[in-house]
């Protein structure tokens, strides 16, 4: 499974996206949708919205370290 961010505000497209995985984030403020899906569906999602409108959800880090 992989997590993707998809840029779309089209209701029909969002309904279509639901076929490919679980919608984790649907905003009332922005046109970014978060979805958890299988790797095999990435290409289909890219074809649905355009590859420029799809990217993987990044992983960040907490910013602390033990001092010397």
């Amino acid at each position: 499974m992989t997590r993707l961010l998809v840029r779309t505000n089209n209701i029909t497209t969002i309904k279509e996206l639901k076929k490919y995985g679980e919608i984790l984030f649907l905003s009332s403020l922005t046109d970014i949708v978060g979805i958890e899906t299988k790797e095999e569906f990435i290409t289909r999602i890219q074809q649905l919205v355009g590859s420029d409108n799809v990217r993987e959800s990044k992983t960040g880090k907490m910013l602390i370290q033990r001092g010397s």
Partner: protein
């Protein structure tokens, strides 16, 4: 007033009765030495007692954590009764320890965006929320857990948490994490941060620990409207603190990025970020957020570094409150008191 007094005779029933007659409360009587602790409105009454050899006011001690707060001017804010009362802060982090006496009282709402539950397994949220409650002890916190037990944070979780916080009408959000990314503020997360900032949510976020090369500020620290915080260490810009691109205007400012808790020393822009969030929250008890944000960068100390290293300088709560007081005295600004 609390006082310590050294006796010239052992404390007995006669002496205790004399204290009572003067309205002096006995707080402490040492069994090892002729020392007592009392509380009284009338210091002279204590000094006039025949069995008192000498006395003085009980001093305030400084715990190690408080040494850090001293350095950023927090006692000055607290002496002006600025404790952050009425301010709601979204704390996006690794959760909280539910029975931590120093922070648990402050939380009014919780949400988990990691699937692990709201407890702090990474022991990161506990540290940053302690900084917030030490600086702005009367603020209220929303616990938005986005960092998992491994210290990782998923980008979707940040979107979820920020939107959740926005819909809870928070005024400030503290983000002590980052996504290493060469970005000029136009990635989707940074754009979302800008959108929320325009709608009134002030987002204070870390500059990242991937320095010192140029262009190492992490996202969403690259968001134009975020207050992006770099870290100082021993009065210098910490080597690890993220540096901005030329003319990017990042970081926005720097703050103390070191903390000693007992025998453990922690450092990072994670530590610096809640220092700034806490200062803004504390000041919001007396001043409008708009005035504070207008004065924020003027209330920083120039450390003599390049702009892409120190931003506007090192934040100092005491300097900032003096500046806001002057603005208020000159008849400008929306002071609350």
């Amino acid at each position: 007033m609390k006082m310590l007094a050294r006796l010239n005779v052992p404390l007995g029933p006669t002496e205790t009765e004399q204290l009572e007659r003067q309205g002096i409360s006995l707080l402490y009587a040492s069994r090892l030495c002729g020392l007592i602790g009392v509380e009284t409105e009338n210091a002279e009454a204590v000094m006039s007692l025949p069995f008192i050899k000498e006395c003085r006011e009980s001093q305030k001690g400084i715990a190690l954590f408080n040494a850090a707060l001293q350095q950023i001017g927090i006692p000055s804010l607290h002496s002006q009764a600025m404790f952050g009362a009425g301010v709601l802060i979204a704390h996006l982090n690794s959760g909280i320890i539910l029975n931590d006496p120093t922070t648990a009282y402050a939380y009014i709402e919780h949400a988990d965006f990691t699937g692990e539950g709201i407890e702090d397994y990474a022991m990161h949220g506990t540290i940053t929320s302690r900084i917030l409650t030490a600086i702005a002890p009367e603020s209220a916190l929303l616990n938005a857990k986005v960092i998992d037990r491994n210290g990782d944070v998923d980008e979707i979780a940040v979107f979820q948490a920020l939107e959740w916080a926005y819909h809870h009408d928070v005024q400030l959000a503290n983000l002590s994490f980052g996504f290493p990314c060469l970005c000029e503020g136009n990635c989707w997360l940074c754009e979302f941060v800008d959108l929320l900032s325009e709608r009134g949510l002030t987002i204070v976020t870390a500059a990242g620990n991937w320095g010192p090369e140029i262009g190492t500020v992490s996202c969403p620290g690259n968001a134009r409207q975020a207050i992006t915080v770099g870290a100082t260490s021993d009065n210098e810009i910490a080597e690890y603190s993220g540096r901005g691109l030329p003319s990017q205007g990042k970081p926005s400012l720097v703050a103390l990025g070191q903390l000693q808790i007992g025998r453990f020393r922690f450092e990072g822009t994670s530590i610096a970020t809640p220092m700034v969030t806490g200062i803004i929250a504390a000041l919001m008890e007396s001043y409008s957020k708009a005035d504070i944000l207008s004065a924020l960068f003027s209330g920083c100390e120039d450390l003599g570094y390049e702009e892409n290293e120190q931003g506007n300088g090192r934040v100092n709560g005491s300097l900032l409150s003096k500046l806001l007081n002057e603005v208020n005295r000159n008849g400008f600004g929306g002071a609350k008191k």
